[in-house]
Amino acid sequence: MKHSIKRACYIMMGVAMIACNSYDFEQEQYKNEVYLLSNSNLIYDRQVAELKQEGDTIYLMAGLSGTLNADKPFKVALIEADSLFKAYNKSNYDIETDRYARLLPGECYTVPSLEGQILVGETQVKFPVYLHNLDKLSPDSIYFLNYKIDSSRTDAFNPKKDEVLLRIFKENDYSTTQRNVYYNYTSSYVTLLDKDNPLVRRPTNANQVFPLGSNSVRMLAGDEEFGEYKTALDRIIEKSIIVTMGEQTSKNPLARHLTIEPYRTIDVVQLTPFEIYDNTFLINVISTPDGRSTYYKEFRLHYKYRLNGSDPYKEVKAILRMEYSPRVELL
């Protein structure tokens, strides 16, 4: 009996020892593979370039997947491509070729290097893209850079994330192409300067403002409308003005002088300041007695315009206002 018990103990110990044999857990872990950061549509659209004279920098990101950090560096090499760009246009616009997105012109960017390395212990490498001359880009068009992984010069990579469309957005202090920016007409007048038909309108609608250069924006003149944006190119060309911000005024450091010019064909004449319509861009801080403040960006405009040379001018006295939060803009 004693021997039987001893034997059973030995057998159980033996089984226990076998059970402790090592198991290849690595086969259950995610592999280390290089990928290009993008959303589910293979577009990376989370960066906005600031419109500055000296240009701005955005980054193309290559990441390294895997459950564990790699124990060796990973080489990453990129090459320019156009397959994803073409697929984007075909799938989104098909035969509407005039609405096709555009590749960013060569004069607008510089990529110093298309080769990098994800170092041991790190999970990404950034490829800087230096952007300049962005004021030459139309705010109505979509611009991309298209890059893909060079398979011959890159270590293991994910073939489903080996190409990316880098969306180019631009912004200045007044607007951005990343989203639609509207300023609302407040206390505004549009008067037809025709003594036989002196029609006065009080616009209360919103005017979409597009960034052009570091200090300039485009907007529709007066109470004009461009209808459906998808088909509005001709109307935008016909009815838009450019507002360019200049120096701080001597009266109020929160105000800047501005000039009003035609965008293309419109006949527009900037008039002299009149009361609150003093041709300035103003950061208007409206404070309540309890100390809270509301912040507005305001275009205060006085100009006249006409779409046809034979028409009477329309005089515009307008305040275009957008509420904003200075703290959020600093983020």
């Binding site: 003594k195 001597s250 450091p253 002299t272 003093d278 404070s287």
Partner: protein, 370 residues
């Protein structure tokens, strides 16, 4: 027994001592609340005179001087901070407009704003001694007027409304012996209508756009006299023989009418003509349609001649002619530029059809400038 009592006492003392020690805090931290307060009286807006000066805002704080800040958002206003106060300094304002600034005093999330303003030099801008309300009256003819503008600011904008096309800026000249006065002349076109017309003229300066001066130009309307027409001055190429003799045009009775030929055809547009006794250089014509519908002119060519042979177009009216029963029409002043004695009213189209086609009319008059 005694030993036990002493032992128990010592143990009791030991436990008490331990209890006291255990009640002491594990660590001690000095929580000193840092705060910065600008009293309400120091937050009141500050107003500097033209010459500038200094103003002080009190600051109640236990924060080290180097750890809180005070700043101005305007170049003209400097800010210095000292223990317990902020000193705001402004130089003299050499401009002709008031200016504003904002001082920010902050420590961490505590921020205080003080609004500051400074008056500017007093601008002067007077037109013939007045800023507003002066009226310059002129007659209907071409004219030149001048006003004397007194100003200590640059006079760089003279504004005439877009809706006024009869006032033109002439010359701007310095007034001899006066450094702050200018003479500004305006040319006024002839008023070719019966109605008086008006124009505001505004003077504005880039030194202070809000300080304007203005005056009003009032131009009288033209005075017209009716030309007495007689039957022998009227003629037509298409008199209807059965009704509507041409003399009815000037009989003063809107119930009678002239009618051109409908009972025969002449193959050319119908007209009537006025031969004046004295030459005129322009006129207004007036007519009234007959008190029945049909045959009202809607396309009329007005021709004039000095000799009845060489004709030229004075105007061609294709819109705005009335078609209602007994409706009336008065033309604008029609300037010929040279004297004429013959006036022809040719109807190219009526409300009933295109010429050659008969038309009718109840009354007709002509007016010439006095």
């Amino acid at each position: 027994m005694r030993k036990n009592i002493i032992l128990c006492g010592l143990i009791g003392l030991l436990i008490s001592a331990l209890g006291l020690i255990s009640c002491a805090p594990d660590y001690e931290t000095e929580f000193e609340i840092k705060s910065l307060i600008v009293p309400d009286k120091s937050l009141a807006p500050v107003s500097f005179s033209l010459e500038g000066g200094e103003a002080v805002a009190e600051v109640e704080t236990n924060v080290a001087l180097t750890h809180w800040s005070a700043s101005s958002n305007a170049v003209w206003l400097s800010v210095d901070k000292e223990e317990g106060k902020v000193i705001m300094s402004a130089g003299s304002n050499d401009t002709y407009a008031p200016r504003i600034a904002r001082v920010t005093i902050e420590y961490g999330h505590q921020t205080y704003y003080i609004n500051v303003s400074q008056t500017g030099k007093t601008p002067i801008l007077l037109v013939d001694g007045e800023r507003k309300g002066m009226v310059k009256s002129v007659g209907a003819g071409e004219a030149t007027i001048s006003v004397r503008v007194k100003s200590n600011i640059v006079l760089d904008h003279i504004l005439i409304p877009d809706t006024v096309n009869f006032v033109h800026i002439g010359t701007v000249t310095d007034v001899e012996g006066s450094v702050d006065e200018k003479t500004v002349t305006f040319k006024i076109d002839q008023n070719l209508s019966r109605n008086a017309r008006y124009s505001a003229v505004t003077f504005q300066s880039s030194d202070n756009y809000n300080h304007t001066a203005s005056f009003v130009i009032s131009q009288a309307g033209m005075i017209f006299a009716e030309i007495p027409l007689t039957e022998d001055m009227l003629s037509t190429n298409a008199q209807e023989p059965r009704e509507g003799p041409i003399k009815n045009l000037i009989d003063g009775n809107p119930g009678t009418y002239f009618h051109s030929a409908w009972s025969y055809s002449i193959g050319v547009p119908h007209f009537f003509q006025v031969t004046l006794n004295d030459p005129i250089e322009g006129c207004i014509f007036w007519y009234q349609n007959r008190n029945a519908s049909g045959g009202e002119p809607i396309d009329v060519l007005i021709e004039i001649s000095a000799d009845g042979e060489q004709w030229r177009d004075l105007t061609h009216i294709t819109a705005g002619l009335p078609t209602g029963s007994s409706s009336q029409y008065e033309s604008a002043y029609l300037a010929a530029g040279s004297p004429f004695t013959h006036f022809k009213f040719t109807v190219n189209k009526t409300s009933s059809g295109t010429a050659p086609r008969h038309f009718s009319m109840a009354e007709f008059r002509m007016y010439a400038p006095e």
